[in-house]
Symmetry: C2
Subunit: 337 residues, 2 copies
């Protein structure tokens, strides 16, 4: 963390990824060229793989896609219906995990955190969860995380995550914040690569909730998307950016809005994702700062990059004995080379 | 720092401001409405004022403007030609200082830091310095700051500062950073309120250097501004954003450029100040994220707000026993209510 302690000299951080759908697979590809981090553990619903020498993303992805679980990975894979618990027990020297898990059910992240707490493992977890209520559940674990000697970084993807942190920075110019507006555009070529994520988006739409969206068959999702020409328009979404900015003391959660447009049939974004922070300066002027993501950047790049940046920052905190729960609005992520 | 440790319950942080020109005066006004910080100490070239109950910015500014030094402030002012040293000796319980000092001479910040180190004072310093070489001088003090039990936050104004931190965040989406371009627009109604700052800007212009700009009389500055209709156009400026992003491991300093346009006769900005970070994602796409400051925000708001946000973050680090030198690119500033 300190200005003249370059980390090039240290051995790579040993990193695990829990969940190996679209996000987990992208995470493995993001890690591949990194010198400062090595992917040593992956778990999916039916198994896990662990290799301290590092896992190859191509082999992992091929195995998962062809045989249904990373547990089939030759030499280093193990099939298990308790894959997370078994991985924790068998991989003691992982420095930190990225929880690339579905957000549904809404209590999933907290239940996984509890599993880590109970295992006695001491390390760093980072999630890219979305919903306010999921952060509320993690807040209840704050003391347990601290007592367990764990450092948990929550809401560390794109939004919440990168854009929440940008809002936190932008707020610095103002004496008082009036509103924070997050508007995202997402374009994906094929919704089937992001089945869980798209169901989470549908859950935010009028007339839908988490249970209803989760229960939809692929054919039902397909039919819904046919009606809207593949476009999902989302307004006033329950997104944890609000509670994270409130916890950081910046603005009350009712002044934070999140909405966006998801095009499930075109990788081009329907609009540029941005966060706009409006406030009053000490001289009494109202103005807005804006942070805008480049259109060519994918959801995977904007989620996984920050997630590992926060994981690195979390490991720095953890090594200084700083444990407990932190959000993306409170900590500067560290660039992972 | 942790997500559920609200700081409302703590007593206000006791803050000092060194330097009481345009920037120091603005800093005192920024602090006035804050509940979490109290201005207790101010020093200028000829004196200082110290009051643990808090200093009133209007009285401070009136005294400085009418009588030439804050040292004349009734009841709490002291005239001194060693104002900084005398203030440190007589104000032991200040939590942190904002060094709102001129950047010229270029060694000034480091010499003030050395003065604090030698005094035995243990607290937090924050500066809003501009030049790369000034940060280089502070880097040499890293071990001494650590040994002295001090936490020093450097480059924590607007640029370097807010925009450097935004670049640090924006970099998270990319596997590799190609360039960081900072372009600022500054509009001030009257250059005479910012005599030192304008001379620093002139020092960046072709044909000028620090010594030459500093030696200019007001009439000479006026004549130069008359030639350009009050506009200063600055390119490839020596700005510490470059070394700060290099130290954070994000990009080598030669890929960071800073330029801008200063209108000294119009408070409206000639262009919107922004930072653009261009890189390659893990999928091989080139793109750019952009962070843009609202035109209605003043230089004073964009410098002083972040400076106190970093001071608060620095005090959190200091209270956890984390000392040494940090830059704005490494630490998330904390919003000061």
């Amino acid at each position: 963390m300190s200005a003249n302690q370059p980390s090039q000299t240290q051995s790579p951080l040993r990193v695990g990824v829990l969940g190996f759908g679209g996000l987990g697979q992208a995470a493995s590809r993001v890690l591949a060229p990194k010198q400062e981090m090595r992917l040593v553990a992956v778990a999916d619903r039916h198994g896990y793989a662990y290799d301290t020498n590092g896992l190859d993303p191509d082999r992992c992805i091929a195995t998962y896609n062809e045989r249904g679980s990373i547990g089939h990975l030759e030499g280093v894979g193990t099939l298990s219906d308790e894959s997370i618990g078994d991985l924790i027990a068998n991989a003691p020297d992982v420095d930190g995990y990225f929880l690339a898990l579905p957000n549904l059910p809404n209590s999933f992240m907290a239940s996984v955190a509890r599993q880590f707490i109970e295992s006695g493992w001491k390390g760093v977890l980072v999630d890219a969860l979305k919903r306010t209520s999921a952060v509320e559940q993690l807040l209840e674990l704050q003391n347990d995380l601290q007592a367990a000697g764990m450092t948990y970084m929550t809401g560390c993807g794109a939004t919440p995550g990168l854009l929440t942190a940008a809002a936190s920075l932008a707020a610095q110019s103002y004496a008082e914040i009036h509103k924070v507006e997050i508007t995202f555009g997402v374009g994906i070529a094929n919704w089937e690569a992001y089945r869980a994520t798209i169901r989470e988006d549908i859950a935010h739409m009028p007339g839908y909730d988490v249970e209803k969206a989760r229960a939809m068959s692929d054919a039902e999702v397909e039919a819904l998307l046919d009606e809207t020409n593949g476009i999902l328009k989302l307004e006033n979404m329950e997104h944890a950016d609000d509670i994270m900015l409130e916890l950081a003391g910046i603005v009350s959660r009712d002044r934070v809005t999140v909405g966006g447009i998801v095009d499930t049939r075109n990788p081009k974004k329907p609009l540029s994702t941005h966060v706009r922070v409006t406030g009053r300066t000490f001289e009494g002027k109202e103005s807005s700062h804006t942070f805008t993501l480049g259109d060519e950047t994918s959801m995977a790049a904007n989620v996984c990059g920050p997630a590992f940046g926060y994981l690195k920052a979390g490991i720095s905190l953890h090594r200084r004995g700083i444990n407990g729960l932190f959000t993306a609005a409170e900590v500067m992520p560290q660039f992972v080379r």
